[in-house]
């Protein structure tokens, strides 16, 4: 069962991330620590073991579903924030538009001759 094997690796790396955070006190999530460690491990091995890709591929496809339960929570606090919504929505959408423009423009400029 390669996928199960791979899942065990992913879970182990997440748990290692927990331990790293526990001892270092870094304010980041264990998932990110685990992801970076996974990237480093794979570059040391020099290939992706089939067990890892068997577990990682479907999980990546499910990312959107996994954040859904949290996202739905916003529909249940609509009343609490009455009168604040306009400012919040304008700040988020206009702010995002501005930062998207900045990112695209800046990276295009910086990449210059790298761009194809």
């Amino acid at each position: 069962m390669p996928a199960l094997n791979g899942l065990l690796w992913l879970i182990s790396y997440w748990l290692i991330g927990e331990v790293v955070i526990h001892f270092s006190g870094l304010p980041i999530s264990s998932g990110v620590v685990g992801m970076l460690l996974m990237g480093v491990t794979l570059s040391v091995i020099g290939r992706v073991p089939s067990s890892i890709s068997a577990a990682a591929q479907p999980l990546i496809g499910l990312l959107a579903m996994l954040i859904m339960p949290g996202v739905v929570g916003v529909f249940f606090i609509l009343d609490e924030l009455a009168g604040q919504w306009l400012a919040i929505l304008v700040a988020l959408s206009l702010g995002t538009l501005l930062s998207v423009v900045t990112t695209l423009w800046l990276l295009k400029r910086l990449m210059g001759h790298h761009a194809h």
Binding site: I60, A87, I88, L106, L110
Partner: protein
């Protein structure tokens, strides 16, 4: 639905898990049926369906969330799984490390700064500012940051949804206006600004875009997690 039946069903977390799977599958099917509109991502359709279903059967959100935790626990290993596309694209990322390293801190800081500046100008109180500050950061990290700033996590999740959903059409529109068709730039912008929702979109475009999105998403998460709480203290927004 009679309350006793509902009580029986909600006693098991499988009800919330099943409801989530159903909403996701129906949402994805509708998304494909609508020919994958960039302004209406599958996750928004699914979230609306799910919220509608919960309201219809009168299931309290807290009960649902408790059951769905059996599913969301997979968010941890799923985030670790992103190390794989990251590794696969490493040669292409390494070739661009300099522009990426310059772009990231500026863009990630501005992603927070623009939104906070606008909200502040429009008179939002400090509590709201603390809740939306991590709007471009991937959920598992953003929750930690928001708790540290004293914000409301439910509002943060809403801010993540709005930001992620808005990022997708913004990127396709701005890329067209700026004549950018490089999937690496588009992917990076999707992940940096639109966290997991933007990254999911980037993987729909191509594997390269997805890998650059994962990179943008994780670097933004780390950068914001390390510096935002510090900046918050220095500027003293929280006390305002």
């Amino acid at each position: 639905m009679p309350t006793d039946v509902l009580a029986t069903l909600t006693a098991t977390p499988l009800f919330a898990v099943g409801l989530t799977l159903a909403a996701f599958l129906v949402g994805s099917a509708l998304f494909n049926r609508l020919k994958q509109p960039s302004w209406l991502p599958a996750i928004l359709i699914a979230a609306l369906l799910l919220a509608g279903a919960l309201a219809l059967i009168g299931m309290p959100y807290a009960t649902y969330q408790q059951g769905a935790a059996w599913l969301t626990v997979l968010l941890g290993p799923a985030t670790v799984a992103l190390g794989m596309p990251l590794y696969q694209q490493l040669p292409r990322i390494r070739a661009l490390w300099r522009p990426l390293a310059v772009c990231l801190p500026i863009s990630a800081a501005l992603a927070t700064f623009y939104a906070l500046g606008i909200a502040w100008l429009m008179g939002s109180p400090g509590q709201i500012l603390a809740s939306i500050a991590a709007k471009s950061v991937t959920a598992p990290i953003a929750i930690g940051i928001t708790e540290q700033l004293g914000g409301n996590v439910a509002l943060l999740m809403g801010a993540l949804l709005v930001t992620g959903v808005v990022t997708i059409p913004c990127v396709s529109l701005c890329a067209r206006v700026l004549h950018i068709d490089d999937e690496r730039i588009i992917g990076f912008a999707l992940g940096l600004n639109g966290h997991a929702i933007g990254t999911v979109r980037a993987f729909e475009l191509s594997h390269t875009a997805g890998a650059f999105a994962s990179l943008g998403m994780s670097l933004t998460g780390i950068f914001t997690a390390l510096l935002l709480p510090l900046a918050w203290e220095l500027i003293g927004v929280g006390s305002g």
